[in-house]
Amino acid sequence: MKHMTRKATRHVNQNEGLIFEKSSAGKGAWKLPPLDVPEVDTKKLLGSSERKDLGNMPEVSEIEIIRHFTRLSTWNYAIDLGMYPLGSCTMKYNPRVNEHVARVEGLADGHPYQPEKVSQGALRILQTLSECLIDITGMDAITLQPAAGAHGEMTGLLMVRAYHQSKGNARKKILIPDSAHGTNPATAAMVNYAVENLKSDARGMVDVAALESQMNEDVAALMLTNPNTLGVFEQQIHKIADILHAKGGLLYMDGANMNALVGKVRPGDFGVDVMHLNLHKTFSTPHGGGGPGSGPVAIKKSLEPFLPTPVVIAKPDGTLGFEYNRPKSVGRVRAFYGNFGMFVRALAYIMANGPDGLRQTTEDAVLNANYMRKGLEATYDLPYSTPTMHEVVFSDKLQAKNGVRTMDIAKRLIDYGFHPYTTAFPLIVPGAMMIEPTESESKEEMDLFIEAMTSIAEEVQEDPQLVLDAPHSTRVSRLDETAAARKPVLRWKPGN
């Protein structure tokens, strides 16, 4: 590396094949206790339904399993290793006490159908978390059932549809800004609404005049991310809400960027009717390589009759229970009550912070993004100069002149010991570089990142090929995605 970095050096990680390649008959990592009931004749019990062979399932010992997965783990980057500045993903620290309390016996082993009398602990967790999230969002009611953000969007739009239906007209379409995440239009399609694009103005905000002209009685709702994917707070939010409400429409807020607002401002106070939260973003539950998440949906009073069943209620005797008899409900969106283990973690996070901690968290997240902006705005093109909240979006315009694009710079960041930022999103910024440091980064880590980005910009000037060929320090170089998609190999088979 031309510019040595203070953060990363190359390290050795070990080779490891697929688990199937280590398997051989007769090895195993299990032992069952002796059977305390009579043995059975499986043939007699199952007849032709009996399975004879489990195919190529592996047979390996425990030490091999530990080494296998431990070696694989060393091939991953993670928050625990350093900054993970993916824009709109809010990769913050995942506190360990969350993991600990989610494994407390009565919670980890609580069955969803055990009698309410012996479910009071779990119900209390559902209720306490609900109350916290309702106050944080400034809304009136909530469902915790959706399993992830996109699932929350679907649940929210189902309630929007049911609300309009109850007024006699389900309406036809959803307005979605051109800066929106792909799940928004995909969700609208899932609940059978047409999608109408809403363009952004020169400052990267909703074009209020365009909204005014596009708004009519066919529009069920506007799905707005606020702050939006440029990290910009919609300053005309009250006007946006008024325009929608005047024509009977609803304001849906995608809460993906709630980390910019907690404790400082509440969506319920600026006109939002329905919104989802991502507990795996704002409330610190781990991403785990892609999930699980949790996507609670908070709503205003007018939408309450349509909540998915069941809802938690306080019963006359003071105990908690589930209410199923809700004739106007949109129905269930998943079995049981949602990703309960994530509720435990999110609540532990809220408790560890308290009101002052949550406020300071938001302030630090916004401070970090603005510090990042200041540190890089001389080096990278900033397409929108509107004030930054929790994330900042640059573009590769200056580096593209040397043939280096956002993805190349992202890959080069890996050599400097960082996870790349979000590339090529939002779609309204060609060559976007979307950076969200979160509150979890110290000034030192921020400075290292700025130094790395500055150094890469110099490399782009002096030796663009170095950047184009990056990463240079990983166990595999850039992978052939075209070949993977042309002739998909989606599973291991003996002999390949």
Binding site: E481, T482, A484, A485, R486
Partner: protein
């Protein structure tokens, strides 16, 4: 880039080459280049009706999808089965890799399409943006 003069072009970057009342349809060299490595081509079945200006299939790279728009109306008589197993042929030889052949419903529709020279000019303007 030189575009063959034996065919007509659309602003959505398809070409159509007519022989009497039948015509072959493909995508231009410019289209394949901006899409990048093509990994999948989704085409209609024989007998499907195409209508001018409407989508009739998609071409995909690893990370993008583009709709195919019919340059003219007609009934699909043949589908290039090669592309199902070797979509890379579109990258290698866009002018030779026809996707579908159709019986033209209204051959006069072709009159409204771009000539090779006009298309080249159109592409130059688009790329300049």
């Amino acid at each position: 880039m030189a575009y063959p003069i034996d065919r007509k072009y659309t602003k959505e970057h398809e070409w159509i080459q007519a022989t009497g009342t039948t015509a072959a349809i493909g995508i231009t060299a410019y289209a394949q280049e901006s899409l990048g490595d093509i990994v999948f081509v989704e085409l209609p079945k024989v007998g499907a009706e195409l209508s001018a200006g409407k989508t009739f299939g998609t071409v995909e790279s690893a990370k993008a999808v583009s709709d195919l728009y019919a340059p003219a109306s007609g009934t699909v008589t043949e589908v290039n089965g090669d592309l199902a197993t070797s979509p890379e042929k579109v990258n290698k030889d866009p002018n030779g890799s026809w996707m579908v052949k159709i019986t033209l419903k209204n051959p006069s529709e072709l009159g409204a399409l771009l000539s090779a020279a006009d298309y080249e000019k159109f592409v130059a303007e688009e790329a300049g943006h």
